[in-house]
Every structure is written in structure tokens, then in C-alpha cells.
């Protein structure tokens, strides 16, 4: 646990860059992973990266700090809903196609 009275002196840009990296890694997961659940997880990773940048921005100017947190809160809620539905879909897919490989799931095409 971080004690409360330590002053902050980490440049915001570091947080932002970190979040950028995480985001790119999420994209990478999306592009390169084959297991659909993992792809889904990389989406979550992207969401998290964005959340981090939200909080960082909010921290940069404390007038919006709380708004930023509320926003992140909403993002989390939506992510939860998304996970519920998405995983249900994945289960359905697995039931029907006996596979979790995104490349096997290609019926929705021309």
C-alpha cells in the first residue's frame, strides 16, 4: 500500500506512453492470437489501457479527475456486460463449431 503523503512527480506522459504501449499490445493480441477467448482478452487489455490514460488525464487537471474516474467506472461496467454477452456467444460458438479458433469461425462472409 502506498502511504498517502508521498508527493507525485512522475510525468503524466509516462503514464500515457505506458497506456499507449499496453494498447498497442492489446491490438497485437487481437491481430496475432488465434484463440477467440484470447482475442477477447486483448480487447479487455485495450480497454484497460484506455482507462489508464483516462485516469492519467483526469489526474493532470484535477478539475476533471472525478469525472475521469466516473468515466472509467462506466467503461468497466460496460466491459462487464460485454464480457457476459461475449463469453455467452463464445460458448455458443464452441457448442456449434467445436472450435475456439477465430480462423475457423468464418461463416459471416461473402
Amino acid at each position: 500500500m502506498l502511504p498517502n503523503y508521498i508527493p507525485a512527480h512522475v510525468p503524466i506522459s509516462w503514464y500515457l506512453i505506458l497506456s499507449a504501449m499496453l494498447f498497442v499490445l492489446g491490438v497485437a493480441g487481437f491481430l496475432l492470437k488465434r484463440n477467440i477467448v484470447t482475442v477477447f482478452m486483448s480487447i479487455e487489455l485495450m480497454l484497460n489501457a484506455v482507462n489508464l490514460s483516462f485516469i492519467a488525464f483526469g489526474f493532470m487537471q484535477h478539475t476533471v479527475a472525478v469525472n475521469a474516474q466516473v468515466f472509467v467506472f462506466f467503461v468497466m461496467v460496460v466491459a462487464a456486460a460485454e464480457a457476459a454477452v461475449g463469453l455467452a456467444i463464445i460458448i455458443m460458438v464452441h457448442r456449434n463449431r467445436k472450435s475456439l479458433n477465430v480462423d475457423d469461425i468464418e461463416l459471416m462472409k461473402f
Binding site: 491490438v27 491481430l31 482475442v39 469461425i105 468464418e106
Partner: protein, 647 residues
């Protein structure tokens, strides 16, 4: 001016309501219900019109009722506005009144027909459009009604759409009217460009100041174009050809649309535009010539027709010619007066004819009739009255109006037109009584005629009412010389002005109408002409029944020409129909349509297909490649942003 307390909108709305109800829910309903709805709506409209006639104040300046904005394009404005002045009031009364009677009549006449609800919804729709036409506050709305009645007449002429002739007749009416409408539309454009508006009051205001122009000025052109439109709608030369064929429609339709109301729309429009016409004497002359020529022309054809409805059709055309003649010589009020009286007796004639036809089991050939006067006395009586009226028997409606027209014609210095008009009057009398005699006198010439029966009351009552109207209808226009006050002229004066003021300049040398002896004399001529016609008809068809045959053999050529209606239809076929057909088939269809248009369309389609064939590969169904595309997009956007921020 914006007083909406008259609620004019009720008038057109009521029939529209009936049309909607009958059209959407009428199918399978009992005929009583349908007929009830149709008649009730129109009847209510009539009642309200009468109420307005007695209560509303529109005499000194027209009452304009703004309903809703319609078109607002830059400086140009056209609203849904209704316009009530003596002219439109009179027309409304005629339309609703006669219309109501004919509705009632039709409930019985059409009782055996299929598509009963269809018929009545069309009929109500026609009433709606006709009232819109009459009450419109600007030319555009008038044009809406104009086209609407055209549509309804098309639908109703082709009501027996299983009969090819009916369908063709409908199409013919529609197309011929298009020609006229083309002129009308051009006229409206010209009005916009000159007056900047289409609202009556604005237009008239704009032209009031302008001086009378001789030669081809803008006003003259406008008037001529409007005349073209009127010719189309009112079946004047050279566009009259559709009206005789329109007799394919059910008889009530012929009575309502092709005798009483719609065909008079042209006259109404000309009278409505009188402030323009009076500024363009050349156009007036044109109107007069067209009218005079048409009346004579149609009358001559009417002499020899044997189909009862055809005879009536041609007489209608010639009567319309009279009206145009009246307008042309500047006696607009006289024209409208004749519109009214004509509405009565011509409707009566048609309905009577319809009654005869039902009695004859839908046989329209007069050669098969005869001796019906015992069989169907009421019809006989009423039709006799009508014939007398149209023949100008003194004291009946036709007498006053026709007399007025002829006198005005002469008094405005168109002597030879007067002569032709009088001749026409004689012919009119002749062929009308020829019809009467052939139909009702002599011996039955077919077993249908033997077993004819009088029509039901709902048919005879309208006949009687109309007969009464044909008798007394004229008294609203009794000229001073017969001790009358010519109320109708005074009544219409705010709308169309007094005849005396018209035809500025050239009427000066003509004998002024303050010449009672002359006027009496001329009406005497007219009456004599009428009687001579009647007498000759009696001689030819009652006294010596084979006179007609002998004449037709003696003047065989002329007879054939008349019987074939001067070969006008054939002429038009050769001149217009066949060339147009050929051009359409050879060039427009095979080259333009199938070549250019279809080629373009198919080409586009093929192109789209080809592009799609390539582009569809993007939709591989593989999420990851979609993601890759998304990333490519993001990368490019960010690249652009970095570029922008670099500077």
C-alpha cells in the same frame, strides 16, 4: 383579408372524406351504405354551399381563406388558399347541386354494376378535385384540381376497364388533355415570370395597371396558352376529340363530368382570368373564334349521329363553344350564365338518356328506339323540357342564356359570329328534337323498345328536379328588355366585370345595348331559328319519317363526312398518332431506351457487380483481418495527425 371564419375547406373536404371512406373501406359494404356515404357527403357540401351563398360576404371583395403554406421557393409563394367570390360561389353551387342530383341518380343507375364502391369513391374524388379547382386561390391549386378532375375523368371513362374501347377512350381523354395542360403550364410559368405570383389577387393586381395591348404581348401569349389549356379541358377545337369517346363511361359520369361540371372548367378558367383577357383583345378574338367554330362544327356532326349519347356529346361540345364565344366577346357573365343553365339541361338530357338506355337494356342506338313516350313518360316529359330549354324555347333556361350570348356577340360587333351562332342554334334545335323524335315517337323499332320500363324513383326524381331547374333556371338572368334585371350579371360583376366595359375601343361603333328594340329583335331571330330547327326535325322524323334517309342519299358525300365526324380522328391518327408511334418504337424505344438508358443502367449494375466482386474479398469473415484493416485505418489517421501537428 385572412378570415377563416367561413371554413371553406369543409366544402372540398367532405367529398374527399367520402372518397376515402368508400375507397378504403367500401369494398364488400352494402350498396346502400356506399351510396349513402357518397350522396351524404356531396349533399352536405351542397347544403353548406347554399348556407355560404346566403350568409357569407364575398360580393364586394373576394374572401381568401389561407389554409396552409405549400410552396415557398425564394420570392415565389404558393399556399393552400381558397378563394370565394361570386364566380366561384356560383360554380360551387352548380357543381355541388348538380353533382348531388347525379350522385343520387347514379345510386340507382349503377345498382347492377360491379365495382360500385370504386365508382362512388371516384365520383366523390372528382367532386373533391372539382371543388378544389373552383375554390382554388391561385392558379397552381387550380391546376391541382384541374389535373385531379382529369385523373378522375380518366378513371371513370375507363370504368369498364374490361372493355378495350373504354380503356382507349380513357387514355385518349387523358393524353389529349395533356396537350392542353402543356399550354396551361407554360401559361402559368409565364404568369410567374411576369407577375411573380400565382395568387389570383396578386396576379390581377399586377395586370390591372397594364394597358390594353395589341399584337403579341406577354399578356396575349399568356391568354393564348391558357386558352390552349381551356380547349383541352373543355373539348374545343382542335382538342375536342376526346369528349365524344368519353361517352364510353357510365352515363352519370357523362352527365356530371362531361356535360355539367368538368368540361366547363375551361370556361371557368377563362372567366376567372378575365382581368387578363380583357387586356388582350387578340386573345379574346381567338377565344371567340374557337368557340364559334367549335359550336358550329360540333353541331353539324351532331346532326347525323345515331348514338344517343354521341349526339348529346357533340351538343355539349357545341354548347361549350357557345360559352367560349360568350367569353370571347367579353360577355363573361353570359358565358357563366350559360354554364349554369347548360349544367341543368344538359345534365338532365344525359340523365334522361341514361334512363332511356336502362330502359333499352343498354342499347344506345336511336335507330332501335322509338315510341318510348308511352313506356317511360316521366323521362319523356323531362327530356322534352330539356330539349326545349336547349333549343331556346322562350322562357326556359336556355333561351335566356343563349339569347344573352348571341346578343352580346352582335352588340360587340361580331356580326358574322352572331350569324353562325344563330345557325348553330337552329342546328341545335334540329338535332335535339331529332333525338327526341327518334327516341320517343314513332313505332318501337326493336323488342327492347317494346319492353321498356320506367326507371326507379331515385332516377326520376333527379330528372324532375333538373327539369324544374331547366325551366326556372333562366330567370336569374332575365335581361332588362324582358322586364328582368339580369341579376346574374350584377351578381358576377365583381368577378368578371360588366360586359359593357369589355373590348375597349372596338365596341364603340357597335350598337350599344341600350337599344331594347334591337335586342328584342335579335332574340326573336334566335327563337325563330330554334323553331325552324324544331319544325324541320318534326317534318323529317315525324311527319315524313323517311326524309332523313332520302337526304342522306341525296347528299351522300356530305352525309358520310358528317357521319365520320369530318375524319378528324383519322386525320389525327395519320398526322400525330402514327408518326409518334413510329418515332417512339423505332427511335425512343429501340435506340434511346433499350440502347442508352438500359445500357447505362445495366452498365452501372455490371460495374457495381464487378467492383463488388473484387471488394467482397475484404469481407473474409476473418475477424483478425478486419482488425488489421481497422489498424491500417488508425495508423493512417494518426499519420495524418502527426503530419498536421508536425507543422
Amino acid at each position: 383579408m385572412e378570415r377563416t371564419d367561413l371554413h371553406l375547406w369543409v366544402l372540398p373536404l367532405l367529398p374527399l372524406l367520402g372518397a376515402a371512406v368508400n375507397g378504403f373501406f367500401g369494398k364488400g359494404r352494402s350498396r346502400g351504405v356506399i351510396g349513402g356515404i357518397a350522396c351524404t357527403t356531396v349533399g352536405l357540401a351542397f347544403v353548406y354551399a347554399v348556407y355560404l351563398f346566403f350568409t357569407a360576404s364575398y360580393a364586394e371583395h373576394a374572401h381568401i381563406e389561407f389554409i396552409a403554406p405549400w410552396i415557398a421557393a425564394g420570392a415565389f409563394h404558393a399556399d393552400f388558399a381558397l378563394y370565394l367570390d361570386p364566380l366561384s360561389m356560383l360554380m360551387t353551387l352548380v357543381v355541388t347541386g348538380v353533382g348531388f342530383l347525379i350522385h343520387v341518380y347514379a345510386t340507382a343507375y349503377m345498382a347492377e354494376e360491379d365495382g360500385f364502391y370504386r365508382f362512388f369513391s371516384y365520383l366523390n374524388l372528382f367532386m373533391f378535385f372539382m371543388l378544389t379547382l373552383v375554390l382554388a386561390g391561385n392558379y397552381l391549386l387550380l391546376f391541382v384540381g384541374w389535373e385531379g378532375v382529369g385523373l378522375c375523368s380518366y378513371l371513370l371513362i375507363g370504368f369498364y376497364y374490361l372493355k378495350k374501347s373504354a380503356g382507349d377512350a380513357g387514355k385518349k381523354a387523358f393524353i389529349v388533355n395533356r396537350i392542353g395542360d402543356f399550354g396551361f403550364v407554360l401559361g402559368m410559368f409565364l404568369i410567374i415570370s411576369t407577375a411573380g405570383s400565382l395568387d389570383y389577387d396578386k396576379v390581377f393586381m399586377a395586370f390591372r395597371g397594364s394597358s390594353v395591348e395589341n399584337g403579341m404581348g406577354p399578356i396575349t401569349i399568356i391568354c393564348l396558352l391558357l386558352l390552349a389549356g381551356a380547349c383541352g379541358k373543355s373539348a374545343q377545337l382542335p382538342l375536342y376529340v376526346w369528349l365524344p369517346d368519353a361517352m364510353e363511361g357510365p352515363t352519370p359520369v357523362s352527365a356530371l363530368i362531361h356535360a355539367a361540371t368538368m368540361v366547363t372548367a375551361g370556361v371557368y378558367m377563362v372567366a376567372r382570368s378575365s382581368p387578363l383577357f380583357v387586356k388582350a383583345p387578340d386573345a379574346m378574338t381567338a377565344v371567340a373564334i374557337v368557340g364559334c367554330a367549335t359550336s358550329l362544327f360540333a353541331a353539324t356532326i351532331g346532326l347525323v349521329q345515331t348514338d344517343i349519347k354521341k349526339v348529346l356529346a357533340y351538343s355539349t361540345v357545341s354548347q361549350l363553344g357557345y360559352m367560349f364565344l360568350a367569353c370571347g366577346v367579353g360577355a363573361f357573365s353570359a358565358g357563366i350564365f350559360h354554364v349554369m343553365t347548360h349544367a341543368f339541361f344538359k345534365a338532365l338530357l344525359f340523365l334522361g338518356a341514361g334512363s332511356v338506355i336502362t330502359a333499352m337494356h343498354h342499347d344506345q342506338e336511336m335507330t332501335n328506339m322509338g315510341g318510348l313516350r308511352k313506356k317511360i313518360p316521366i323521362t319523356f316529359a323531362t327530356m322534352t323540357i330539356a330539349c326545349l330549354a336547349i333549343a331556346g324555347f322562350p322562357g326556359l333556361a336556355g333561351f335566356f342564356s343563349k339569347d344573352e350570348i348571341l346578343w352580346q356577340t352582335y352588340s360587340h360587333g361580331h356580326a358574322w359570329m352572331w350569324a353562325l351562332g344563330t345557325l348553330t342554334a337552329a342546328m341545335t334545335a334540329f338535332y335535339m328534337f331529332r333525338l327526341l323524335f327518334l327516341t320517343f315517337f314513332g313505332e318501337p323499332r326493336s323488342d327492347h323498345a317494346h319492353h321498356a320500363h320506367e326507371s326507379p324513383r331515385s332516377m326520376t326524381v333527379p330528372l324532375i328536379v333538373l327539369a324544374v331547374m331547366s325551366v326556372i333556371g333562366g330567370f336569374v338572368g332575365v335581361p332588362h328588355v324582358w322586364g328582368g334585371h339580369n341579376e346574374i350579371e350584377k351578381f358576377l360583376e365583381p368577378s368578371v366585370g360588366a360586359p359593357a366595359m369589355h373590348v375597349a375601343g372596338e365596341a364603340s361603333d357597335a350598337p350599344a345595348e341600350s337599344d331594347p328594340t334591337a335586342e328584342r329583335l335579335f332574340s326573336l331571330y334566335a327563337v325563330l331559328a330554334g323553331f325552324s330547327g324544331i319544325g324541320f326535325a318534326y317534318y323529317a322524323y315525324v311527319a315524313k319519317p323517311d326524309t332523313g334517309r332520302r337526304l342522306s342519299e341525296k347528299f351522300h358525300g356530305a352525309y358520310q363526312v358528317l357521319l365520320k365526324k369530318y375524319y378528324v380522328d383519322e386525320l389525327y391518327d395519320v398526322l400525330f398518332v402514327h408518326p409518334i408511334n413510329w418515332v417512339s418504337r423505332a427511335f425512343l424505344w429501340h435506340v434511346v431506351d433499350s440502347g442508352v438508358i438500359d445500357g447505362t443502367a445495366n452498365g452501372l449494375a455490371d460495374g457495381a457487380q464487378a467492383v463488388g466482386g473484387v471488394a467482397k474479398r475484404i469481407q473474409s469473415g476473418l475477424i483478425r483481418s478486419y482488425a488489421a484493416w481497422i489498424v491500417i485505418g488508425a495508423v493512417s489517421v494518426l499519420l495524418y495527425m502527426t503530419m498536421v501537428w508536425a507543422k
